[in-house]
């Protein structure tokens, strides 16, 4: 029962947050200079008053601002994200079209960065003060300081253009009509570079954090207890230090989900990855209001999803949380 009301509370909070985001972004996006009618008319290579008026009426831009806002918010409440006049399709469809690609990219980057980050952090902490530790931490620092897009460009240059090992852009081989396993492998091949470059920065973050956390936890009393019990070093690290050291890393990872999704805009641009980050960036230039707002909402929902996910992981690892609340 307590758990149920808690889930309910959590969801209610999420919905309220999303609504607030919808309203804020509505204001933001509409504050931008230029409107979609002018852009669309402009791209057609000619525009007169009649055409622009037609377009504005079609987009509902001739309505007073508060009416537009009310219409939007009440639509959002029924999960209707509106219609993209520019793309000629409901925004939800557009986003659902692109969402799997973004989810695949961000989730793999998340998993890659977390797994490798923690593994390398543990490895470094076990060799603290040795040369291998210095090498690992130096690399982590370098990755941490390297702009994401720059790493992406370099990766394409090296692995795609020079070595030809991996495709440098796109989601799958177009027109190859693979199915089943072949298609999965094809997508995986395309995924490696974007996911790796997106994950690289965060891997560095998690690695540094894991290392610091491991070192901190290893100073704790219960680790001394474990030693006093006669446990071997590796067992202590695995069973006692790691599980405790991971908690702050998981918390941080949850907090950084927003950054990860934001970073996807850059990655998707460089790798021509058909995700929602790119959709947003393109819609922004076209002032495709509904689409921008939709992407914002969906990505905020993703952040909340990542937050909840890390929360669940946290609960699995830390028995104290569930009992306390």
């Amino acid at each position: 029962m307590a758990a149920l009301t808690q889930v309910f509370g959590r969801l209610l909070k999420a919905v309220l947050t999303l609504l607030a985001i919808a309203v804020l972004n509505f204001f933001l996006v509409h504050a931008a200079p230029g409107d979609p009618a002018v852009v669309l008319a402009g791209e057609a290579g000619a525009a007169d008053e009649q055409m622009i008026a037609q377009l504005r009426a079609r987009f509902g831009l001739d309505q007073p601002f508060h009416v537009q806002l009310w219409t939007y918010v009440s639509n959002v409440l029924t999960l209707d994200l509106g219609y993209s006049f520019r793309q000629g399709a409901p925004v939800l469809d557009l986003i659902l079209d692109r969402l799997p690609a973004t989810l695949l990219l961000t989730l793999s980057a998340f998993v890659i960065s977390l797994t490798f980050g923690i593994a390398l952090g543990v490895a470094a902490s076990a060799r603290v003060g040795k040369v291998s530790d210095s090498i690992l931490t130096t690399f982590a620092l370098l990755f941490y300081a390297t702009p994401l897009y720059w790493a992406a460009l370099m990766a394409v240059l090296v692995f795609s253009v020079q070595l030809g090992w991996l495709p440098g852009f796109g989601y799958e081989t177009v027109g190859a009509d693979y199915s089943g396993l072949a298609r999965v492998l094809d997508i995986l091949k395309h995924l490696i570079l974007p996911a790796a470059t997106l994950g690289l920065f965060f891997m560095a973050v998690y690695m540094r954090m894991t290392r610091a956390s491991m070192l901190e936890v290893s100073q704790m009393d219960f680790v001394r207890t474990a030693k006093a019990k006669g446990l071997s070093g590796p067992v202590i690290r695995r069973r006692h230090i790691l599980r405790n050291a991971i908690l702050p890393v998981v918390t941080l990872a949850g907090l950084q989900a927003g950054q990860l999704i934001g970073g996807a805009v850059l990655t998707e641009t460089v790798f021509a990855w058909p995700g929602i980050g790119r959709l947003m960036f393109e819609s922004l230039a076209a002032r495709d209001y509904n689409t921008i707002l939709g992407v914002f909402l969906v990505s905020a929902a993703m952040v909340i999803f990542f937050n909840i996910l890390t929360d669940v992981i946290y609960r699995l690892v830390d028995p104290r949380i569930g009992a306390r609340t």
Binding site: P147, Y149, L157, F281
Partner: protein, 277 residues
């Protein structure tokens, strides 16, 4: 403390690199008085192909070295100012939330969480697009997306310091809440804030370069991100155009991180984790 910092090898390397960058930025007008935009030689001059053009020229025949040196000013300026603005937003908010607790805390933290729920780079893009790219709008956008961690850190620190007995003692001395917060609590949260700020400057430089890379930079000002963004299309034929600014960013950000780490070790020997949150 200074002794502990100066013993930190990484931090000293960081200070050295940063000192060079700052010196170049400060003396840029003396080193390259014609400015970064002057088209001074034929385009696509390879590095070291001609005397006086150590780093080559770009697509329009502008000196890459001049661009780097002038760009350092922008990167540092944006990094510093946006961090300051973020601190101006985050410190009071976090301090009030942590100090007064109850609904103030609830409200401030909901607000902060709200900002953390919007993917920050996407928000920065929209903000810059709305305000139109300029030095001010970019700085502001970076500040707006980077204050939440400050607020959270300050809140946590204030809450920790608030429960110290000397704060109780100050209360018993009849000091007002405002004085207690400003004189007793905040000064004791400064160390982790300094550490976080040094890392934020680094992050802001990265953010600025990312925005410029996407074409959302101030076109009147030469910055490293702009240089990479502009050179991206010729990366195959003129690697040096994006390579050198990239190295400049990596080195500067690295230096700031090293300094942050050194400060962290020197200021908060027991809080080595907090700076990254």
């Amino acid at each position: 403390m200074i002794r502990r910092f100066s013993k930190h090898k990484g931090a000293m390397i960081g200070v050295l690199i940063l000192a060079i960058v700052v010196a170049l930025a400060v003396f840029a007008p003396l080193l390259y008085p014609r400015g970064p935009w002057a088209m001074v030689q034929r385009p696509f001059l390879q590095p070291m192909a001609m005397e006086g053009f150590l780093l080559g020229t770009d697509t329009l025949g502008r000196d890459v070295a001049a661009g780097l040196v002038h760009g350092a000013r922008v990167s540092l300026l944006v990094g510093l100012v946006s961090t300051l603005v973020a601190l101006l937003i985050g410190v009071p908010l976090g301090a009030l939330a942590g100090f007064y607790g109850a609904w103030v805390d609830e409200g401030a933290m909901r607000f902060t969480e709200f900002f953390q729920t919007i993917p920050n780079f996407a928000l920065a893009i929209v903000l810059v697009a709305i305000l139109e790219p300029s030095l001010t709008s970019i700085t502001l956008a970076i500040a707006i997306v980077s204050w939440p961690p400050v607020a959270r850190l300050v809140r946590a620190e204030v809450m920790a310091v608030k429960s110290r007995e000397y704060v109780d003692a100050a209360r018993l001395s009849g000091l007002s809440n405002r004085r207690i917060l400003i004189e007793q609590v905040l000064p004791n949260t400064v160390s982790p804030i300094i550490v976080l700020a040094s890392l934020m400057v680094a992050t802001a430089i990265l953010l600025e370069s990312s925005l410029s890379f996407l074409g959302l930079g101030d076109p009147n000002i030469m910055s490293w991100g702009y240089m990479i963004g502009a050179a991206r299309t010729v990366i195959r034929s003129a690697w040096w155009l994006s390579f050198f600014p990239g190295v400049a960013i990596v080195l500067t950000v690295l230096a700031l991180n090293l300094i942050g780490e050194g400060l962290n070790d020197a200021l908060n020997p027991h809080l080595s984790r907090k700076g990254h949150a």
